[in-house]
Point group: D3
Chain length 183, copies 6
């Protein structure tokens, strides 16, 4: 077709991320749940809002990481939490790394590196995105419960769902969210 | 609760198989696709219909294999075809084996063994179910196409989707299905 | 087309059973309810699991009955409970019998006879499927309620929904299911 | 509760008519088809628009007939076309008559009589509603086809779907609709 | 095409009213809410039922007003309640008037005038339709709540949702509906 | 509740953006279309990918603009294209500005200013987001058409849907997209 035909293929494939439902909600009885695209947008939005009042953070880098953090699911689907438990250690992460490499092949290597940075979870920016990934999940759970859904208690019971990434603001938001639920 | 509480938990969890969409159709633009429960029913129905005119086959055993063949997806989800490519060799199968072991724990070991027989794909019964698994997929693809869906061509292009398992009747049905499509 | 063209027509038509929603749930406010295909799979699965520990039962025959028990709905739809009340006595059953005869016309007569056996409800196998048909319905109702649906009370109030078919195991499961709900 | 409690029950039950899908479209692969409420509104709208230029017609009466013409489906569901074929002659109509009598019990007898007038199909008003019932169906089929649905050919092949009720305007509209499709 | 081609265009466009969801319910977490067509049918049905026992009312005129009262939403969509607050005074009403004029252009002017009469809200018939518009909304809210939806409290808190239009019967129905909810 | 209660309200309300469908697709017969959240994510993703090879652009600022560009629709809904035509000049823009001001009230003024910059459409960053807003729409239209939807021709016929914002890369992508469609 032309010089950008690989790029166009990438842009078209990415449109399909809307078709992948967040399986944890679906299995909990939410019949029309959030898609992976929707989740990703909310995480990017949270990063944008919260990073504004956080010092010593590269906001652009944090936003970029948010945009790519779940992109591998285009090719791997959204595995339910139980699936990871059955796979050999590291297998899920390795599969996602391979998927990202193929999906983002038309882009410069440094853009692909952002996903690895997210997985490593060491940089301040990666920790922020990881915290926002869970904060967004619990915000959505709270919304679903306030609308009458009742199969979501296990989300609140899992301590892994409340990481603050070392950011005081996120710790406070988790606390307020729990208080809101108990009222 | 009582003597059958593990059994009741199993029976309730299995109800949720309806919530797992067949991801390949979803990614091809079928907005309300077949669930894994629906797929499984159709495979069992095919096995029932076709095995009637096949000699030297244990019909009960073939039906039992059909009923459990995708049950692991309750815990692993329906992985898209691309996902298997990225996972280490055997990882998907090992994960499904572990899932089946846990899901069917309240049942006798010989019932759990049916899934392993399916995976091995050596017995005449396992081969029949494997052929029906793909025949059902292509029947559904044909139905979707006859109703206006157009993103499903790659299903026809993949020779792996037309295994006859050594059964002449299934070979004939695949041939007729392809003819039907071309008209 | 060829020697199996009637058979292929049957196999394609059956794919459409997924499109028929279980109307009782829909009218109770479950917006994306179980299809008739899904219901049928669950009944077959229950028959498979429970028959294993029941003596003096033809397991293959029971599974076959489960697979065909609601197949007439391909042509008659899933009538709401109220509909049966308004039809002349026996009209619904006669209509379903005629539908089954046409749907299964390409198959041997003994396969068509399984549906009549189910309707008669006298054989041990038919009684097991009839009990599992209701047990499955109440398992799904319990799941829906645990996920926040609240319009389903009338299912629990109808004593016809708890037939044990003379099988002690099913009687126990109904009892445990009711206890689970009351907690 | 009070003097109008039967009336309130009626008004609440009627809200549920939205939950009953038009099964013919669903079985043709339209995944989110028109409900019976939507169909009924469109028929009433057609009667309103077309009756304006028809002489010697009681417009109020025609509108009233349109509003009640499918109301029995609240209790009987929307039977697929094949279902009527299997039921004894007159059984469907008798069931619907019984349903209407119960549903509309809180209303004056003359309101209930409108449904019987529709069934008889003799009055000029009943004939207009019957013609609009089919005209609306074919308008919706044309819309679905123009949006890419392809499983609807049998609607055009059935001559019963094009009654003009003796009204020249409706005859013209059917002709133009067929021309539109062929372009 | 022919003499009625504008009319046919109108009739086809109106079919699309089913595609417009009632946004207030959607934003409250009802995942498959009423469409504008469904709402309109229920309002017409209420007008038909209630006007029967109201003296000094032109029933045909009231029904006609009900049929057109939300038709502008074909072109403007169903604005959420908050949207009206942000628009300049009268802007929404002016937009809907312009939309109605274009949509109903193929019909006689007196038919278009019915929408203006509804907006003015002065005639006895317009007041009845306005009261039924809200009564229908609260009946649907009550149904949704009885089925487990919980995000709908703000509908009950808004006094504007309970207009009786000066009709004693409607005042009584609102009172009974509130009592029903509190039980 | 605490110091961040306004912020938490904002974060919860934003979750609801998933519930607002892109009405243009819905009215064209796409039964389960993209939500505003999904659209916004795709626009941000396009900005991220394309801005990498564009010189003299503030990438962070462009991403921030993408994230907020449709946020007003939380309160105004997604108006169909026809709606804008009926509203007084500037009314839609004024309503959205008022909505943004209220929605983003808990955030610093400079964050709110990004939406105004988008509307003005003068900065290089705003022009990039505006071009990506339409490019994303046409990518999705192309995907829908390749999956069998046929009611979308008017999107290709509207020259306003192909703005390149002065960026050569986007001009090339639009050209390739048109070529892809014509094959």
């Amino acid at each position: 077709m032309g010089p950008n035909s690989d790029l166009l293929d990438l842009l078209l494939e990415v449109q399909n991320l809307d078709r992948i439902p967040r399986l944890g909600y679906l299995l909990s009885g939410v019949s029309d749940p959030e898609s992976v695209s929707e989740h990703t947008w909310h995480v990017a939005f949270l990063v944008w809002v919260l990073s504004e009042s956080i010092v010593d953070i590269d906001r652009l880098r944090a936003l970029e990481i948010a945009l790519v953090h779940d992109l591998a699911e285009l090719r791997t689907g959204d595995l339910p939490r139980t699936a990871s438990r059955y796979l050999p250690a590291g297998a899920k992460q390795a599969a996602e790394a391979a998927a990202i490499e193929e999906i983002l092949a038309p882009l410069p290597a440094k853009m692909q590196a952002l996903w690895a940075e997210y997985q490593a979870g060491e940089s301040r920016e990666a920790r922020l995105v990881k915290a926002c990934d869970k904060l967004q999940m619990m915000l959505k759970v709270q919304l679903y419960e306030s609308q009458g859904h009742e199969g979501l208690k296990r989300f609140w019971d899992n301590p892994d769902n409340f990481p603050d990434g070392g950011f005081r603001l996120i710790e406070q938001l988790f606390t307020q969210l729990k208080e809101l639920r108990c009222r």
